[in-house]
Symmetry: C4
């Protein structure tokens, strides 16, 4: 399988990193991540732009997914151009240099037992 699968523009409209956690980090730290699959034989360069409710977009955040690899990237760990604030809503546009597939996952451990969701991002 070296075929390129997916598209080059993805959106997640409900971004949110819960501000508190219960349980052992890093696994049980409240987090939000994008999981990206690059099935092709060329590296995929990703450019992320974050949107907020009350200020201008922030970016670009730059990531690379190597050929025939997946990348599970937590928003919690993004540093450049700035960290992603917790406890407030955001949205994210992901532009890729080649076809990829993007899925969004959040683990919420604010209360004693964790909640979890995962959903395909919107492909434009």
């Amino acid at each position: 399988m070296t075929k390129a699968i997916g598209t080059t523009l993805w959106v997640l409209a409900d971004g949110y990193i819960p501000g508190e956690s219960t349980g052992e980090p890093p696994e049980m730290l409240s987090h939000e991540a994008i999981c990206v699959l690059n099935t092709s034989d060329k590296a995929a360069d990703l450019t992320l732009t974050l949107y907020f409710e009350d200020r201008e977009p922030v970016g670009p955040y730059e990531l690379t997914v190597e050929p025939r690899r997946t990348l599970h990237q937590r928003f919690n760990d993004l540093r450049d151009p700035e960290t992603v604030p917790t406890g407030i809503g955001y949205a994210c546009v992901i532009e890729a240099s080649g076809p990829v597939v993007v899925q969004q996952t959040r683990l919420d451990s604010r209360q004693a037992e964790n909640a979890l969701f995962s959903t395909l991002a919107y492909s434009a």
Copy 2:
């Protein structure tokens, strides 16, 4: 990024605001929300119509998403033309004046530990 991404008609078929909550409001209040992203340089005017199981649709609910902004709007907080009842099923059609992306999220804190889901709305 000032490109307009998305479509102008979105549907969520499973609407439900749990009637009880456990934990500290507003964060842990049981709620349902739409998260809308407007990447364009023009404000997006949204018109929501709510559908029920046993009565005629209610609306329009009117919202605006500013240019290059996201809006995380709880159904719990809608007031006009009327509040959204809790503990009963509804559905929602969202019409936008320009392309947007809509994701639906529910936090259910009826029991001691919260449950959570999020899913893309249906784009028509």
Copy 3:
């Protein structure tokens, strides 16, 4: 809004009604449901066929969604041609006489605190 939105063929591949529950029924009974929206001015007749892992499909199950109404139908409550077994996997094809939107939701209360998911069905 009297426009017909959606399509006439929907699939959910992961059907499962957990066999146990914790908490007060009917709300906290473990259940799986389809939520269907019919925005049109004509009733939508639904025909459901259930697929299993080790026997022939069962159906038709027949439901009607009235004009401009939503229907939140639990699989737990289907009776004809037969009840849906709990604790085993199934899948479901939904054929509608007119355009509708279908979302699948499961509440799992096997353990003390409920888990929840909801996702758009596959539209063919």
Copy 4:
């Protein structure tokens, strides 16, 4: 219903089998599964390829979904060519010999009360 529904190429970008469990196996074992529906009158042969973050893809994993049947297959139970490691991220491409529908589901019972999600896979 003997019509073939779906497509022949599916992707899940967020694969992860939690490394710990609470509760009675097999039901409450932390697991991840694909649920596949084959509505056609011909068996569907599936070829799965797993992608990782730091090594070459692994596969093929081969499965068959009989005509008019659903298959709920846990990644935990795959053995050939090798077992799927727990506690690390992966992704999966599913190629089918005929049209099928694929949905991904994870039950996470690392903490005392289980979390759950299910989402349609990406159809290419």
